[in-house]
Amino acid sequence: MGRRAGRETARGDLLLFVGCVALALIALVLPRQWAQGLTATLRTTAFRPMVILQDRAAEDLTARFRLKGIQQQRDSLALAIQQQGALRQENDNLRSLVTLRQRLARPYVAAEVLHRPASTEGRMLLVGAGTTVGVDSFAAVVTAEGLLGAIWNAGPTSSSVMTWVHPEFRASAVTGDGRVLGLVQPSPAMEGRQPLLELRGVALRDSLTIGTTVFTSGLGGVFPRGIPIGTVAKIGRDELGYERVYLIRPFVNPGIVSHVLILTAPRDSMFLPLPGGEGP
């Protein structure tokens, strides 16, 4: 009698386990759009309290440990803007003289990164801003240093960001002088513990020197032109020998980024001037 009850319990356990594994497998093969919809819905309903708590924790962390650094950055920026006032006035006057339209502004939404201690955290980040403040899927996400990634899925109050570490990340890139174009993607090579990007699709006739800064080119309709990506760290090798490959050391480390700017528009900006060959 007891043995039969034990056997039934074991069978029940096995059924529960198999059921959970089957559901996990379904979740794994779920089409991306469905999975995105499901996670966005859960973040705004059942797990909303946890997102609110994490948002609050990120704010408190900033207030506790990063406030001084932010104040210093703000002071430096205020000084820089003050010094550029005359330059801007001169630029505006020159533009009006040659009837050139105003340079396109990049509206943005600031957001805090809600970090979690997950092993895959660097690839996808959760940020505390969503569609209610104008964030949309595929909006470019940048920091003061440069490109971080793009919005993967935007919910009403939080969004997930695909960073440049994600295996599916791609961005059209160009050097500061606009001479060399290519496509950046995550590299399987690493520099110590730091992941790298690789610039592919560079024509064999073109060559880059170590330390050259690479920017987004504005092609592709996702990333506006002129966002710094990183600098050339090494020369890679294309096994087929059809193209030049360069390893890029990115300016932004997704693992430690705390605040981001989500560019809400415009994306079609391939005719904008590049900031030049200098870094950020």
């Binding site: 529960l16 973040r43 895959t120 996808m124």
Partner: protein, 174 residues
């Protein structure tokens, strides 16, 4: 007399559940608010996983798998990498912890600490594999960050077991 003793047993069991629930709630709150408001980094202890392991070693394997499913869902929703990877990893770790406990675990502090550390490492391994991580990154994660996170999770786990051993009904031999 028999009824009274069964009543007492039922009451003790419900008190136990409330106490364990309180410990789990404390861990969830610490994981969602307290810890991220103090530190961030890949080495930070994962208290949701710790809560899962503490519950798993008290439950049958099937129930542990269901709890693992719930914890994995939370992980996948809050740190999106590849939906389903977290669920699968937590189900397997929860089920494995419960099964292992019923087969060979002793009520020993060191064994509990080893369970928390190994559980964290195995969970990370499964998540990384299912998320299609490149070999170089996988190596760094499994040799540097996952062992560190396993150790920090084990340290917090030992602290929780020491503080709440009566509530968790864990007998420590050594």
């Amino acid at each position: 007399m028999t009824l009274r003793s069964s009543d007492r047993r039922r009451r003790t069991r419900s008190t136990d559940r409330v106490r364990i629930g309180l410990v789990v709630l404390l861990l969830i709150f610490t994981d969602a608010y307290l810890l991220p408001s103090l530190v961030t980094g890949p080495w930070v202890p994962d208290l949701l996983l710790l809560a899962l392991l503490l519950l798993a070693i008290r439950q049958s394997p099937g129930t542990a798998a269901v709890i693992g499913f719930a914890v994995g869902l939370v992980a996948d929703v809050l740190s999106p990498a590849h939906f389903g990877a977290g669920i699968m990893a937590h189900v397997l770790v929860g089920w494995g912890a419960s099964w292992g406990r019923s087969v060979f675990f002793a009520d020993n502090l060191f064994v509990n600490a080893a369970l928390f550390a190994v559980g964290t490492w195995v969970r990370n391994l499964i998540v990384l594999l299912l998320s299609g991580t490149a070999a170089s990154e996988l190596l760094v994660q499994l040799t540097v960050w996952s062992p560190l996170q396993g150790l920090s999770t084990a340290a917090v786990g030992v602290l929780v077991v020491m503080l709440f051993r009566d509530w968790l009904a864990i007998r420590i031999d050594a």
